[in-house]
């Protein structure tokens, strides 16, 4: 095992100067030459949409793909609460350095300092850019921008557009993208799924895609490939992700040589609507912003089945306020989720299933009035009522943790390039900025920072060293990738077994949730590593996918994605098993303090785990990128 392949290419100099210096040192592509370069961008969320638009504006020839029927539907659209930026408009002590510090600490010291500092720097420009695009952020009566607080921070730095911040930011990026499509610099292909990466002479030069309407499989070529294909939370079947969110693009890239970084780092979001039945197809998030005004509690006594309004104050346990007095209800997500699980494990959970805790607005309504609460969270309260049939203005919400975001992803260097030259990875699809736990309102920030303000510079540096159009469309690798994709489709359609795709996905999800969820143990992980390949074999023996390949066939789409999840889940468990420590969202039962907090092991695990594919029969190879904390002292994370 060597670290030779993992050169993070972090520029020298003090942290505050690295990005400026790097921007100057990078090579540029002459404006007149830019149109000679073709860039493939997969995905149209905050990262992909902003990248495709910005690269189009620069003059590159961009081919952009998405699986939905329109680029506006990427799952970034569902982000509710807000986007962080170190504007310090509130005069409350914020700065680029503080956002950098909070993000490193929030990530439990498992992110790369230089990337995170650059993210905090870019945050400021993102807000400017979005306002100029017409994003209607919340404002004060004086006409200036409003802010609110989010978990893991003691300053108010989150910008928001009601409970639909992701939607508004995405529509901003989408409108910029549509403008470039109209201008002819971006060619958009919706309802198209990437099935493989084409690598020639060690460089990424194209992708194999399936047109989801006609079912046709074809290849596209470019001078660089940018993946912005989101996270893999749906490996758990139930998550807050959209139904279509999947690991296929990044997994295929992994199998073509891109190292996968920290796959076990998963974020379980504390405030989701609890599961109601086994038909459940997804889980719905209630924005973390609700924790600004909502108080989390369970009954003090186990088995207390009284209605919440009948439980007197003295018999309630506001456990976050009790255990973490300085952050209280705004403790970071991993901590709040684990605390909820603990309360439920003690038999103090609420609701029919006992898998829930209360999020109570009674005090806030008394203090601020119902109208103010309605203004702040009206759409979230409405959504809660539609789903549960209960009115949260009268009764406390019931919430429970659910899989929400994946910090792991393809390993990238400082330039956001993977271990395959020419393959860049942005947004949730890469591993880079959130360490072992992402803070609220930081995903939108990262997606847009990568797309608007990082890739337009770093991709130029790569392209300047590549002759445009240097790929061979008819070469063996390209033909093999395409025929491999077709062969796989034929195989899926040819099994004609007895079980549906969803039944396999559910079963995989149960294994992952039980053995690689909020609390992980070596024994459970070993069990999952044994069980997943069996399930995979069964899938390839007895799945039933009806219809034809050359048609609009949603079962076939799902089958391909679940097949990849069935491989990926195993890697996730391997990573979780190897990481003998607890950090952020990765909680190993064996590694905790006497009062149940995560115990990190900086001596042995202060590194990024990057896994390299070595063939079907071989185990993946582990490479380590050591993390150096030169600015922020490694410390035990405390929110007490």
């Amino acid at each position: 095992m060597s670290t030779a392949r993992l050169d993070a290419k972090v520029p020298g100099g003090p942290i505050a100067d690295k990005w400026d210096r790097h921007k100057f040192e990078m090579k540029l592509v002459n404006p007149a030459n830019k149109r000679k370069y073709t860039i493939i961008v997969v995905g149209t969320g905050l990262a992909g949409g902003s990248a495709a638009a910005s690269l189009g504006e620069l003059g590159y020839n961009v081919l952009n793909f998405c699986i939905q029927d329109s680029p506006r539907r990427a799952h970034s659209i569902a982000a509710q609460g807000g986007i962080n930026a170190a504007k310090n408009y509130q005069n409350d002590g914020d700065s680029v350095y503080r956002l950098f510090y909070d993000t490193i600490k929030g990530g439990d010291f498992r992110a790369r300092e230089a990337n995170v500092y650059r993210l905090a720097e870019a945050s400021v420009s993102i807000i400017d850019q979005c306002v100029a695009q017409g994003v209607p952020f919340a404002r004060e009566y004086g006409g200036l921008l409003a802010n609110r607080s989010f978990g893991g921070a003691q300053v108010s730095r989150t910008f928001y557009a009601r409970g639909q911040t992701g939607q508004q930011l995405l529509l901003g990026a989408y409108s910029a993208l549509e403008r470039q499509i109209a201008a002819g610099s971006v060619t958009m292909q919706a309802r198209t799924e990437m099935l493989d990466l084409i690598v020639q002479d060690g460089r990424a030069v194209g992708i194999v895609v399936r047109d989801l309407v006609s079912g046709k499989v074809e290849s596209h070529f470019g001078d660089a490939v940018v993946l912005a294909t989101g996270g893999y939370g749906n490996v758990f079947y139930l998550s807050t992700n959209a139904k279509g969110s999947n690991v296929t693009a990044t997994w295929r890239a992994y199998k073509r040589g891109a190292a996968f970084g920290n796959p076990c780092y998963t974020q379980i979001h504390p405030t989701c609507i609890p599961v109601s039945g086994d038909y459940q197809s997804k889980l719905t998030l209630m924005s973390e912003s609700l924790r600004n005004d909502g108080r989390v509690w369970v009954p003090k006594a186990g088995g207390d089945k009284r209605r919440p309004q009948d439980i007197p104050e003295s018999e309630r346990d506001y456990y976050l306020e009790r255990k973490y007095p300085s952050f209280g209800n705004l403790s970071p997500r991993d901590i709040a989720s684990r605390a909820a699980k603990e309360a439920c494990d003690e038999g103090r959970g609420v609701g029919e299933t006992g898998l829930g805790v209360y999020l109570d607005f009674a005090d806030a309504i008394k203090r601020l009035g119902e109208a103010k609460i309605r203004e702040r969270y009206g759409n979230l309260f409405d959504m809660y009522e539609r789903i549960t049939g209960e009115n949260p203005y009268r009764l406390p919400m019931r919430i429970f943790p659910a899989v929400h975001y994946t910090m792991g992803g393809l390993w990238v260097d400082y330039n956001l390039m993977s271990t395959v030259p020419g393959l860049f990875v942005l947004g949730e699809a890469n591993f880079s900025d959130h360490g072992a736990n992402r803070l609220g309102a930081s995903a939108l920030m990262q997606g847009l920072a990568d797309g608007y303000f990082v890739i337009p510079y770093t991709i130029g540096n790569y392209l300047a060293q590549v002759k445009p159009g240097s790929w061979a469309a008819g070469a063996a690798e390209a033909r093999a990738a395409e025929s491999g994709a077709v062969g796989r489709i034929d195989r899926l359609l040819g099994i004609n077994g007895t079980r549906t795709v969803d039944s396999f996905h559910r079963e995989l999800g149960r294994i992952m949730w039980n053995d690689c969820g909020m609390a992980r143990k070596a024994e459970g992980l070993r069990n999952a590593i044994a069980r997943i390949p069996e399930l995979r074999d069964e899938f390839w023996r007895s799945v039933r996918v009806l219809g034809r390949g050359e048609s609009f066939n949603q079962s076939l789409e799902k089958a391909g994605r679940v097949a990849d999840f069935l491989e990926f889940g195993e890697l996730m468990c391997r990573d979780a098993l190897h990481r003998e420590e607890s950090c952020g969202g990765h909680f190993r039962v064996e590694h905790q303090t006497p009062d149940g907090e995560a115990r990190r092991n900086d001596e042995q695990f202060c590194y990024v785990a990057a896994w390299e594919y070595r063939g079907e029969a071989a185990e993946p190879a582990l490479h380590r990128e050591p993390l150096h904390f030169e600015n922020i002292k490694l410390a035990t994370r405390s929110y007490k």
């Binding site: 329109s70 539907r73 569902a78 910029a176 038909y279 539609r386 009806l546 949603q554």
Partner: protein, 265 residues
């Protein structure tokens, strides 16, 4: 977990159509053991699992986020786009809104501008092309001044947000007797037209977008108001009044080069 005593039995009449040119027809299916806590799409999931088990191809339908924001789900339920509740997408409609023994008819959004892809899935790319014709503020990355350099009155910002909430689902088109995309177009024109940042392109935007809407085969607006009833984000026809005012002013004042529509500046 689901309580068997509350389970319902629903009869579904579902539009099945193999492709854009193929003839379509209603098929009848029984949905057994429907829990009132299921979403409408989860009920269809259960029907589909059952169909696959019997060797029949499942019902194709568009959906993604299943939390009412992506705008992908698109069914007409008992004659109403997104079903019986105001301000609710199909994915957020729950079966407790129906009664045991009900017969429910499910069709795709029907409009000339939305050809059927298969069964309940339609092609709404025309809406993207309307946005391409001007539904943006032309600001390239990196050009922006400080976000607080230009104050925006809270009322204007809130009204812009009311319009900006459009999820682009096309229910307004499906509900309109003329299959007009007026509410969709007006929502974007209003969102950007209310903000100071949207002023420089305000009139060329409305001319471009309306021209494109016509080219896509959507009908004209004759003030039925069905669109605002069907809109899952409850965007009102007040936005159409604003569009009409801007359009009128635009046609009077615009230079010829701004009339073309579809050009992107």
């Amino acid at each position: 977990m689901s309580d068997k005593a509350r389970d319902m039995r629903i009869t579904l009449r579902v539009w099945r159509q193999a492709g854009p040119g193929a003839p379509g027809r209603f098929e009848t299916y029984q949905a057994e053991r429907v829990s009132p806590d299921m979403s409408f799409l989860e009920m269809i999931d259960v029907v589909n699992e059952d169909l696959i088990g019997r060797g029949q191809e499942p019902i194709a339908f568009d959906h993604d986020c299943r939390e009412g924001i992506c705008g992908m789900c698109s069914m007409v339920i008992d004659g109403v786009p997104h079903g019986p509740h105001r301000g609710t997408t199909t994915c957020q409609l729950h079966m407790r809104s129906f009664a045991d023994g009900d017969t429910v008819t499910v069709e795709p959004f029907r409009a000339r501008g939305f050809p059927v892809v298969r069964d309940l899935a339609v092609d709404r790319s025309a809406l993207d092309r309307i946005i391409q014709a001007g539904g943006f503020i032309g600001v390239a990355t990196g050009n922006a001044p400080d976000a607080n350099a230009m104050p925006v009155p809270k009322e204007a910002s809130d009204r812009a947000m009311d319009a900006a909430q459009c999820i682009g689902c096309g229910a307004c088109v499906a509900a309109c007797p003329n299959a007009s995309a007026m509410l969709f177009t007006a929502a974007k024109v209003t969102h950007l037209g209310l903000l100071p940042q949207g002023q420089p392109e305000r009139y060329r935007r409305v001319l471009g977008m309306v021209t494109q809407m016509d080219l896509e085969g959507f009908g004209g607006c004759t003030n039925f108001g069905e669109c605002q009833e069907a809109c899952p984000k409850e965007i009102g026809v007040w936005t159409i009044a604003r569009l009409n005012a801007d359009y009128l002013k635009g046609t009077v004042t615009a230079r010829d080069d701004a009339r073309a529509g579809g050009e992107a500046g």
